[in-house]
Amino acid sequence: MNQTKVIITDKLTKRFGGFTAVDAICFEVTKGEIFGFLGANGAGKTTAMRMLCGLSFPTSGKAMVAGFDVYKENEKIKQNIGYMSQKFSLYEDLTVKENMQLYGGIYGKSNAFIKQKTESILTELDIKKEANVLVKSLPLGWKQKLAFAVAIFHEPEIVFLDEPTGGVDPVARREFWNMIYNAAATGVTVFVTTHYMDEAEYCNRVSIMVDGKIEALDTPHQLKQTYNAGSMDDVFLKLARKAVRTGD
């Protein structure tokens, strides 16, 4: 198993004043992996992810994403990643098609590519009829699937998903994870934060953050064995109980 490492962090740290949100985390993510990033609210997941995406400056430590340095080559990283935030952030006053067109254009894709890719996504999500409908009139579950499709529209190496399934029903979540698997199968690395423990089971490897530090990192199977737990839920509870911080 000598696969390329697409994310490498070394003592990556972020402080806000006297508060250390992310405390010297070290981990590596391999190409094509579905990497779960778990933690209670306020554990520092989102902050860590924002540093990797180039939305936030690290205070110290190193990080390479898609082979680029987060300090200096931040804009090159952006060409190679996709991002979906926990707040739904497609333009609600644009149509489904227009949103895809916009993001395709921003990433410098050709018109032919945009056209063909739009067609294939519309078919895949089975929303051909809604192509010219304003995004704000779609149900939440559809919006989230659409947001994911847009995040990987430009075929990035890595896609970052920040609590992508918040607030949707179990069926929609299931469908959403199918999309993630399909994407991973094409070689996209998926970096996903969540606090649904059943979702953690779908990941290849899982890291659990407590109070800004990574407390555990392994495959779900190994983690359950190490902590002698029946489910990921139990693993999480055992670790999270140590937390001092609460809530965002």
Partner: protein, 372 residues
């Protein structure tokens, strides 16, 4: 370049889908230009005069009828008590009091001189001042005619006479609307431009869409240009609409060239939109952005020379107006529209505005952060 095209497409789609913005762009300027110049009529006429006549002589009657027959004055009150006249002023029913003392006629005839008293309600200084000046002129005329009656006109005047003639250029009909309409047009452009852009970026911040843009390789300058260009075009459109209304309703045809107006307006819009963007990069919420831009607008507009002369301001305030883009545009609009000034006349204004545009936009690009 291609990225910019996509960003522009997005902005235009969003703008034209928002009914509030459409109303702001199309309806507001039309209605306001139709109404405001009528409200902003500062031409002093119909000065309400209260006369306190303690003389009741034929001269006092003559004087009163001479004053009230002029187009400036209306007799609002006539009595023999100063107190009752003052009460009229207190209730804003009179602006000016003329008091004719007892034995006015007798003194004038017997002692060669007489006294009149005028009191103006100076809360509105302009009106009081102009009213007093007008009434003085009329009294002077009256004085002159009385003199004529008593002294037979001499062949050769022993008294030195300087005849003063005056002419009014550029607006010989003294139409106040010619003065106000170009100024109001500037205010409209400013409010639409600055407010719309100020809110725009903040709105994306509040909704969260800006984050999605920030993880893309879009450059800062592209993003800012994408915001700037649509409102720049809208601004020029509103200007065209405004000039059309000025022509159709008020019959104002610029004495100078349209090219000069548009060239300056193009620069001005860049500057004012840049200011709006600057506000929006600093504000965290739409509420903050609106508050800041309202505040700035109020200061800029009131100190922009729309209706109070900048020359009359104290020195420090005049220096302040040098940093007020609105005052430049108001001045230029009036110069070009009324006096026909050309590029050579406004080159200093053009250069200054270019400076504003560069500073505001440069600052906005600089302070807009994709990363926190």
């Amino acid at each position: 370049m291609r990225t910019l095209k996509f960003l522009l497409q997005k902005e235009f789609r969003q703008i034209f889908r928002d009914p509030a913005i459409i109303r702001l762009i199309f309806i507001m300027p039309v209605i306001q230009l139709m109404i405001l110049p009528w409200a902003a009529d500062y031409e002093i006429k119909n000065i309400q005069l209260a006369v306190v006549d303690l003389d009741h002589s034929s001269y006092s009657q003559k004087l009163i009828s001479k004053i009230t027959s002029s187009k400036y004055f209306q007799l609002a009150h006539y009595s023999s008590s100063y107190e009752s006249a003052l009460e009229e002023v207190e209730h804003d029913r009179a602006d000016l009091i003329l008091q004719i003392p007892p034995s006015f006629e007798k003194e004038l005839v017997k002692e060669d001189k007489a006294q009149l008293f005028v009191a103006g309600n100076a809360i509105n200084g302009v009106k009081a001042n102009l009213g007093a000046a007008y009434i003085r002129n009329i009294i002077n005329d009256f004085n002159q005619s009385i003199r004529m009656e008593w002294i037979q006109l001499p062949r050769f005047s022993a008294q030195t006479q300087i005849e003063v003639t005056s002419s009014n250029w550029f607006n010989p009909l003294m139409n106040y609307k010619y003065f106000m309409v170009p100024g109001i047009l500037v205010i409209l452009l400013t409010m639409i431009g600055a407010n719309l852009t100020a809110i725009n970026i903040v709105r994306e911040k509040e909704i969260g869409t800006i984050e999605q843009i920030n993880v893309t390789p879009v450059k800062k300058i592209q993003f800012i240009l994408g915001k700037l260009i649509p409102f720049w075009i809208i601004g020029l459109f509103v200007l065209t609409l405004g000039l059309l209304i000025a022509r159709l309703i008020y019959g104002i045809i610029p004495a100078g060239s349209f090219f000069t107006i548009y060239a300056f307006a193009a620069l001005y819009l860049l500057a004012i939109l840049g200011l709006g963007l600057l506000v929006s990069t600093y504000a965290a919420t739409q509420q903050q952005a609106m508050l800041i831009s309202f505040f700035l607008m109020m200061v800029f507009i009131l100190l922009g020379g729309l209706y109070t002369s900048i020359d009359s301001m104290p020195r420090w305030a005049q220096i302040f107006t040098k940093f007020n883009p609105v005052s430049y545009f108001i001045e230029v609009m009036r110069m070009v529209v009324l006096k026909g000034s050309g590029f050579a006349d406004i080159k200093y204004h053009m250069l200054t505005m270019l400076g504003f545009a560069l500073v505001f936009n440069g600052w906005a690009v600089f302070s807009y952060r994709k990363r926190s």
